[in-house]
Symmetry: D3
C-alpha cells in the first residue's frame, strides 16, 4: 500500500469503505415457471438466476444413477454501458462467457452430492439484466439460492428423499485499486484496478475457486494475502444474506 | 361461432371477457444504461425492451444521411414452462426468432422518418423475461416506448432537432378459440386455438402488419373480419397505455 | 385510391389489368426422381417444387402413427437481377428464407390429414430458378401439386389407402401500387409498392394465411378489404390452373 | 481387360458403346438475368451454369488491374435418387462440394487471360437440377459456354476491348467398369466402377486436370493409358458441341 | 522441354537432380499414446501421422462387421513461411484441408481389407509441423507406416487374427518446373511450377490416385507421360524407405 | 495433511518427491520459419510454442502506436491417451481451449511493454504434441522463451530499438493429491487430485495469475498457503531453466 500517508486520501468511486459490500438484495420466485428463480442485485449489478430440473443427464453420466449440475451465462446486449453484440446473433459464445459458465458450474458442483440428486440435471441459467462489475460472483451467489429452491422442490414433491446440498457457496471479487485492497469491485474500479481476484468459498469457510489476475502489474504474496482476507470477510456477509433469504 | 347457444357457456381459461386485454404495466428507465429501457408486462408475459443509440448505420445506408431502426429478440431459456435451449449456446437463432425480430423492426420503421434520424441506428433489444403468449406483440408495444425515450434523449441532447417519430405503433394478438374470437391470447389459448392473428396498428388507426395463421383449420372471411375488429379495439387500449406511460 | 380521376391514367409496368394474373404454366414430372416434381412458372418467376417421401418423422412425432409435411426454400444465386450470396457458402439461411419455408410448410399442413399420411414425411423443396416477384406464393401453389403427386404415388403403391389431402391450397400476392390495389405483383411493383399482402387460401375459399405488410406507409381497413377481395379472385384463378394440371 | 472372350458379353447398363457419349444438349440464355446462362444436359444429368459479372475482385487481387474467375457448385436436394440434405440448412458445404467448385474454377482460369479481363470477377454458379453421374464434368463444359457468353457481353458493351479467352475447355469422366474402359459414366456405372477419372482438356488438346481415383482396386499404367485415350476422344466430341452452341 | 540446349543450364533451387528425392526420415513411436505414431520428414516438410484405433464405425457401416479407415489433416498455424489462421479458431476447415484429408483416407482404404479389420475404425491424424511443399504426399507415405503399426498392435493384442493390409501405399509430387519435369517439389518449386501432379501408388506398382493440375498453362500428353515415369521412380524410393522403417 | 504418520507411506505415481519438478527440456529454433520456435518438454508433456511477428494490431488498438501479444492453444487430436475430436473439424474451440489461450495471452502481456513493441502483434501458437498434464503451464513457460526470441529478432533487425520485455514469466501446477501438496502434477495425479492450482509468476517473484480449483472437495486457507509455497519453489526452478536456455 502506497506510503504511510493517512488513508483519508483514498476514496472509492462509490464512497464505499475498502471492505464495504454493495447493497445485496435477493428476490426469490422471481419468475413463475422455474423450479428456482432468483433475482440477485449487488448494487447496480442485477442477475436473474433460474434453476431448471431436467429429467436427463449428459451422455457421459447415463446409467450411473448420478445427477449433474451445470450452468449457462449470458448478458443482455444492453446490460452494459455500451451495447454488446448478441451472442445468439453472432453465432457463438465468447471465450469470456464460456469461462464464466464453467466457473459457475464447478462452484455449484463442489457443494452438492450428485449421487443423492439421482439421474437428473439441475440447469442454472444466469442472465445479467444489468451489469456494474462482479457479474460472475453475483451469478454464483444467486445461483446457489436458486439451486437450493430447486432442491426444495424435489424434496417437497418426493422426487428425492435426502438433501443433496452439502453446504452453501458464495463468491466475491476483490482487487488492488490505486494501491489499496478493496472488496466487491464495481465496473469503474474493475476497469482501472491493477489486480483482481474472484474468490468462491463455502459456508464452512473453505475455498472452492481462487482466480487472481494481474491486469496492470503483478502482485506480491503480501497483497495476495490481504486480498484473500478481504474476500473471506465479504463472503461471510454474503452467506448471511443467503441465510436470510433461505433459512435452513 | 358455434350454434345459437347462450355465450354463457364460453369461458376463457383466464376468465377474461372475449374482448378483454390482460393487465398491461409499463416501467420506463428500467435499466440505467440504455437510452430507452422499458419493461412491459401483459399479464404473465414480461419483456424488457432496451433502445440503444449507435453512431453507425448498416453498410447499405452508409453516406446517405439516413438512419436505421432495427430489432433483435430473444427469450431467456427458462422464460417458458419448460426450459428451451439457449440460442447462443446452440450457435444460431431459430427461424421463429428471426421472423419475430424482423417483424419488430419493420413495425417500428413504419412510424419513423429515417431521414430526420440522421446517420445513426436505434437498436431495439427485446428480451423475454417470462412468456405467457403474445411476446412479439408485447415487444412491439414496449419497443415503441423505448424508441420514443431514445428519440427524446437525442432531442434533449441536441443530436437531432426535429422529432422523427411520425406516429405511435402497438400490436395485439387475436384468435379463434373454441369457435369464438378472443383478444390477447395467453399461452394456453395460443396453444389450443384454431387460428390466430397478430395485428400491428398505428395511433391513427392504420394497419402496419396483419399476420393471420390457421393453426387448426382455415378461417372464413367473416371470422377474419371479426378478428380484425377485436384487434382494432385491443390496440386502442394499448395506445392509451402508451399515452399514459409516455404522454406527448 | 388517389382522387376521382379516370383510372385510364394508371398503368402497371407490365400493362396487366389491376386484377390480372401473370401467365401461369405448370410442368409435372419435371425431374425423374422425386415422387412429385413440378416446375411452376408465373410469368418470369420459375420455381421447381420437388416432393420427397421419407420414411421417417421428426423426433417430436416418433411413435405416434402420424406423418409430417415440411418445406425448404432456396433461391439460386443468380435467379435475381444481381447475384446474391449462396446461402450454403455463407453457412446459414437468411431470416427471409426461414420465414418463407415455414410459411410453405404451414400452408400445406393446413390441408392434409397427418394421421392418414402414416408415420412418414413428405418433404417439399422449393427452389427458385428465376425470380420476378411472388416466389413464395408460386412455391405454395406449385408445392401443392407436387404434394398431390407424391400422395398419388403413395396411394398407387399401396403405402397408404386413404387420401390424406383434405383440400387444395394456393397463394397469391396483392399490394397497393401507386395508390391502386393490384394482383400478383412482379418484382418492379413489389419493390415500389406501399403495402403488400400474401394470401393463402384453400379450394373451399377459406383463409390459411394472411400476411400484410406496410412497406411504405400504413394501410387503411378499406384498402385491406379491397386487397383481400382481389386476392380471393386471383386465388380462384390459380385453383383452376391446379385443377387443369391435376384434375381430381 | 478380362480374358480373351468376345467383347459381345460386355454391355453397359445404358446400352451405349464403351466409347459412346450420352446425348449432349445445350440451351443458352436459359434465365434472363445472368450475363451467361446455360442449361447443359448430358443424358439425365442437367446442370444450370450461370455466369455473373461482378465489379469487384477478391482482396488478394485488389489494385492489380487483374480480374478473377471463380465458381460455386450445388446440387438441389432432390436432384438425386434419394433426397440429400440441403447444404444451406446444414450450415456448411461438404468436402465434395468444395472440391468440385475448386476444380471448376481452376479449369476455367486455365484458359482465360485475367489481365485482359480487367479488375472484375466472373462468378460461375453451377447448380445441378438433376444428377445421373458426371455432374462436375457437365459443369465445366457448360460453364465454359456461360463464361464465353459473359465475355461476349463485356465485349459488346465495351467494358473490355480484347477477348480474354485463350481457348475452350471441356471435361469428361472415364472409368474401368467390369474390367472395360468406358466413356462418360452414368450414375449406375459410377457407383460400381473400379476406377474412374475426370479429365479436363483444352480445345488445343492439352490437359488442364487429370483426376484418377481407384475406388475398388488400383489400376495399371496400361489401364490409365486406355482411359486417357478414351477421354481425349470424348472431349473432342464435347468441343464440337461447344462449337455448335457457340461458334466463334 | 525447352530447346536442345545442354541441360547443364537447368538448376533446381535445391540443387537436387530432376529425379532426386529429398532426404526422407521416419521416426516410429514418436508419441507414446497412439497405436501408430510416425514423424515423417521429407527435407523441411515434417508431418506427424498418428493412427488411433477406435471401437466404433461411422453410422453407414454399423452392424455390417466391416471396419473403416479415415483421415484428418491439419497444418500448425506457423508451419509455413507466414502464419496462417488456425482453422479451429476460424470455425471451419478450408476446402484444401478437406480435399487433402479425403485423399489420404481414400489412398489408405485402397490397400486394406475392411472386412478383416472388423467393426472398428483406424483414424489417421496427419498434422504438419513444418511445411516445405508436398505435405499431402508425405502424409500418405507416413500414414501408411502409422497404419501398419496400428494393425500390428491389433494383431499382437489378438483383436484381429488376419492381417488386413493388402499392400503398401506411398505418394509423391511431380511437376513441370521451368519446362523440365522434376520429382518431389519443394515449396519454392511448387509455387512457381506450370503443372504439378500428385501420384499415389501401391507396392505392386498400381495407381491409386493421379491428380494432375495445370497451374500456369496446360500440359501435353507427352509431359504427362514423363511426369508419370518420374513419379513411378520416386515412389519406388519411398517404398524402400517404408520397407526399411517397417520391414515385413 | 492426513494424520501424523510417517510420510514414507506417501508415494507419487511417478516416484517424484512432493516438491519435484519433472525433467524440463527446451529446444529453441525448433521449426525454421517462426521468429521464435520452442519445443518445451516437461516429462511426457511436449508443447511446441511458435511466436510469429505480424505487422498489424487488433482493431481496438489501431493507430495508437502500441502493440499486442496474444496466444492460441490447441491439442493434436491424439496428444492424449484416447483420441479427442479435432476442434477444426467440429467447427469450434472448446471452452477449455479458449480459457487456456486467454490465460497464456494475459500472462505474457503482464511482462511486456506494449508501447515499446510498436504497432505490431506477436502471436503465440502453443500446440500440444503430447499431453501428460500441465499443458497450460508448459505453454506459458515455453511461450515466454519463444516471445523472447521473437523480440531478439525484432531488435537484431532494427525494427525496434528498446527491449520491451520487462521480466520473465513461468507457470507451474500444484495440487492436493491424496491429502498432500505436490508440485507439477502429471495426468494421473491431475485426474485424481482434490484441488489443483495453476500459478503464474514473474522473474521477480510476483504473481501474475493464481487459479485454484477444488475438484473433489474445497480446500482450506492453510492448504492454499502450502500450495502457493510449493508453486513459488517450482517456478524458481523453471526460471533457471529459462535462464539456461535464454541467458540475457
Amino acid at each position: 500500500m502506497p506510503g504511510n500517508d493517512l488513508t483519508i486520501d483514498f476514496k472509492r468511486p462509490s464512497d464505499r469503505e475498502p471492505n464495504g459490500l454493495r447493497k445485496v438484495q435477493v428476490e426469490r420466485s422471481y419468475t413463475p415457471y422455474a423450479e428456482g428463480s432468483v433475482l440477485i442485485k449487488m448494487g447496480n449489478t442485477h442477475v436473474l438466476c433460474n434453476a431448471s430440473v431436467l429429467d436427463k443427464v449428459p451422455p457421459f453420466l447415463k446409467g450411473q444413477g448420478k445427477g449433474w449440475v451445470t450452468a449457462e451465462y449470458g448478458m443482455l446486449p444492453r446490460s452494459t454501458h455500451t451495447r454488446s453484440d448478441r451472442e445468439a446473433a453472432r453465432g457463438k459464445q465468447s471465450g469470456r462467457t464460456q469461462e464464466i459458465q464453467r466457473l459457475i458450474g464447478r462452484s455449484l458442483r463442489a457443494i452438492i452430492d450428485l449421487e443423492k440428486l439421482g439421474e437428473r440435471t439441475i440447469h442454472l441459467d444466469c442472465d445479467v439484466i444489468q451489469a456494474d462489475g462482479g457479474t460472475r460472483c453475483a451469478s454464483i451467489t444467486g445461483a446457489w439460492i436458486a439451486l437450493a429452491d430447486a432442491v426444495s422442490h424435489l424434496l417437497k414433491t418426493g422426487q428425492i428423499t435426502e438433501n443433496p446440498l452439502k453446504d452453501r457457496v458464495a463468491a466475491i471479487s476483490v482487487g488492488m485499486y490505486k494501491g489499496y485492497p478493496v472488496l466487491d469491485l464495481d465496473y469503474e474500479e474493475d476497469s482501472n484496478c491493477d489486480a483482481d481476484m474472484n474468490v468462491v468459498m463455502t459456508g464452512s469457510g473453505q475455498f472452492v475457486e481462487v482466480q487472481g489476475t494481474a491486469e496492470g502489474h503483478p502482485f506480491s504474496r503480501q497483497e495476495l494475502d490481504s486480498l484473500l482476507m478481504l474476500a473471506e470477510k465479504g463472503i461471510a456477509g454474503l452467506l448471511r444474506v443467503q441465510q436470510d433469504a433461505w433459512p435452513v
